[in-house]
């Protein structure tokens, strides 16, 4: 991987002057440094990978089962549930995160303390414990009673989905609050001064000036959080929510194909995280507007550039 990047950057300079091409000159012809270490390490890595693949192919795994069950209806429904619970928990976490970050930075000591308490508790206890607490909440509150407006048995309200949403979302909110807070604090103070000087109120300044600029700092760790969430959501199988891991391992136990079904789950998790990584790249690009003179190339543009580069070097040879 590093090998590839090194080659890429080493090959760029000759392409640069060729592109500008205003003043003709004779490029330096020198024998490049030989990287013997790279060749040796590449061979070592290839051998190790080959051995790993061989070990798995000889193990007691029926690979055909992996292929057969990859698109099994219950696996696909588990996959759907994983996406639903991850996206909705992340959305809840994001909303709570912004809310508690603004509260944490507020001049009001009460809101600031409430926010501190929330972050302290939900960041300080394991999410697995929190899920189990939500799951067993009816042991403490038998009814959810909002006076004349609403009354219901807690067990009926806290479906597996609600337990999962509250457990993951509230936990995520505590982490997001810290991420959003660091983003807000990264924005230059002159920005809110300029906004105030124009007569904008604190809320307008936050919404129109500070938060949009904080997004640039907030998005990369948020992407990380979301990819984490996709994987952490596997924990909610413990509270009866039929997500991907639970759906897969159910088949695994009944069909006696435990390892196979774990592979099925892994393939889908990898697919999901890969798709969302690409999405994150485009989101970061969107919020880089105004802070970079030229936007970085999209993966597609970069691919095209790389292909052109190969073509050019071949011509040079």
């Amino acid at each position: 991987m590093t090998d590839k990047i090194d080659k890429g950057s080493a090959a760029t300079p000759p392409a640069g002057p060729g592109a500008s091409g205003a003043t003709p000159y004779e490029a330096i012809k020198a024998i490049p440094v030989r990287h013997y270490g790279r060749w040796i390490s590449a061979v070592v890595v290839a051998v190790l990978l080959g051995w790993l693949v061989y070990a798995f192919s000889q193990g007691k795994i029926i690979w055909a089962t992996v292929g057969d069950k990859l698109f099994d209806p219950s696996v696909l429904s588990g996959l759907g549930n994983t996406v639903i619970i991850s996206v909705s928990s992340m959305a809840l976490g994001l909303v709570l995160g912004i809310l508690f970050a603004v509260m944490r930075l507020s001049k009001n000591p009460v809101t600031s303390f409430v926010s501190w308490l929330y972050i302290w508790f939900f960041r300080g206890t394991p999410v697995y414990v929190q899920l189990l607490v939500w799951f067993n909440l009816s042991l403490i509150f038998q009814y959810i009673n909002l006076g004349p407006i609403y009354k219901n048995e807690t067990v009926d309200v806290l479906t597996p989905f609600m337990v999962a949403l509250l457990g993951l979302g509230l936990n995520e909110g505590a982490y997001m609050a810290e991420i959003v807070r660091s983003g807000i604090q990264s924005v230059d103070e002159g920005q809110s001064e300029a906004s105030h000087a124009l007569g904008m109120t604190g809320m307008q300044t936050m919404r129109r000036v500070v938060l949009p600029q904080a997004m640039r700092v907030i998005i990369p760790p948020t992407g990380n959080e979301f990819i984490n969430m996709l994987k952490t959501s596997s924990l909610v199988s413990a509270v009866q929510y039929p997500e991907l891991l639970r759906a897969s391992s159910n088949i695994g136990t009944t069909a006696g194909a435990i390892m196979e079904m774990l592979f099925v789950a892994s393939i889908w998790y990898l697919t999901l995280t890969s798709i969302f990584s690409v999405g994150q790249y485009y989101l970061e690009r969107r919020y880089a507007r105004g802070s970079l003179r030229t936007l970085p190339p999209t993966p597609f543009e970069r691919l095209k550039a790389n292909l052109n580069m190969f073509r050019r070097t071949e011509v040079a040879k």
Partner: protein
């Protein structure tokens, strides 16, 4: 000049903790006047400017703009602090231009100029855009409306910042060393815009090191040092024939 002063300061003090920055400032700025504040760094001139639109809270004295106390209201003999929204309302009529421009980097030049009229005055985008185009034209940047601040030179950014402040149609403009962060060859363009603004009758308070500008455009000049007004008068008098030793010492270094 019998008209009510645009800005009136009486015994204004400001300290940050133990640091006593302003030690009793008394001055009056008349409407349509170009009022220059000069002095060595740390003399408190920028701090005083920031007190005028309540970016800094004064510790003692009285400071009023157009007859209205800044940041407070008086009922009987009691002073009440203004709410955030009331302070914001006071600031609408006071434009400010910063040394570091402070344009909003995530908005284009024209969006920067449109932002406050749309958000604060509730103007329609069409009306705000029309005025923004005129204002950018006036500061010589009619063709740069679609550019983001990073795509503009320092001088261009500062002129957009002036247009942004003017979009609120203020009755008073504060300039906090508007040319100090600029490359020398870009200073002229910004000063031209300010000169043009002064000719149009805008009341301006300018903290500056540009003595040429002060002498040529200024109606009044105050030399500050150590948090007090050392000397004041017509710029040509103060700059040409300073009375105090501190003023003489300072001017001999900058002129």
């Amino acid at each position: 000049m019998t008209a009510q002063p645009m800005v009136k300061a009486e015994g204004v003090h400001k300290s940050y903790g133990a640091a006593h920055i302003l030690r009793g400032i008394d001055l009056e700025v008349a409407p349509r006047e170009v009022f220059c504040l000069v002095g060595p760094s740390g003399s408190g001139k920028s701090t005083f400017l920031r007190c005028i639109n309540h970016l800094e809270r004064i510790n003692a004295g009285r400071l009023s703009v157009d007859g209205q106390l800044v940041g407070y209201k008086q009922k009987g003999d009691k002073l009440y602090e203004l709410k955030d929204s009331e302070v914001a309302a006071q600031r609408r009529d006071i434009g400010m231009v910063f040394q570091r421009f402070n344009l909003f980097p995530h908005m284009t030049a024209i969006e920067n100029v449109m932002e406050a009229p749309v958000m604060v005055k509730g103007e329609s985008k069409a009306v705000a855009r029309e005025r923004a185009i005129k204002l950018l034209d006036r500061v010589g940047l009619g063709d740069k409306g679609g550019n983001y601040p990073t795509q503009l030179s320092g001088g261009q950014q500062q002129r957009v910042a002036i247009a942004r402040a003017l979009a609120m149609e203020p009755k008073l403009m504060l300039f906090d060393e508007p040319t100090s962060a600029l490359d020398p060859e870009l200073v002229g363009d910004v000063l031209d815009v300010m000169r043009d603004l002064a000719e149009s009758g805008m009341t301006m308070i300018v903290v500056t090191h540009e003595m040429g500008f002060a002498r040529e455009v200024g109606d009044n000049l105050v030399f500050m040092d150590g948090g007090v007004v050392v000397e004041s008068g017509h710029p040509r008098e103060v700059l040409g024939n300073p009375q105090h030793d501190r003023t003489k010492a300072f001017l001999s270094k900058v002129l």
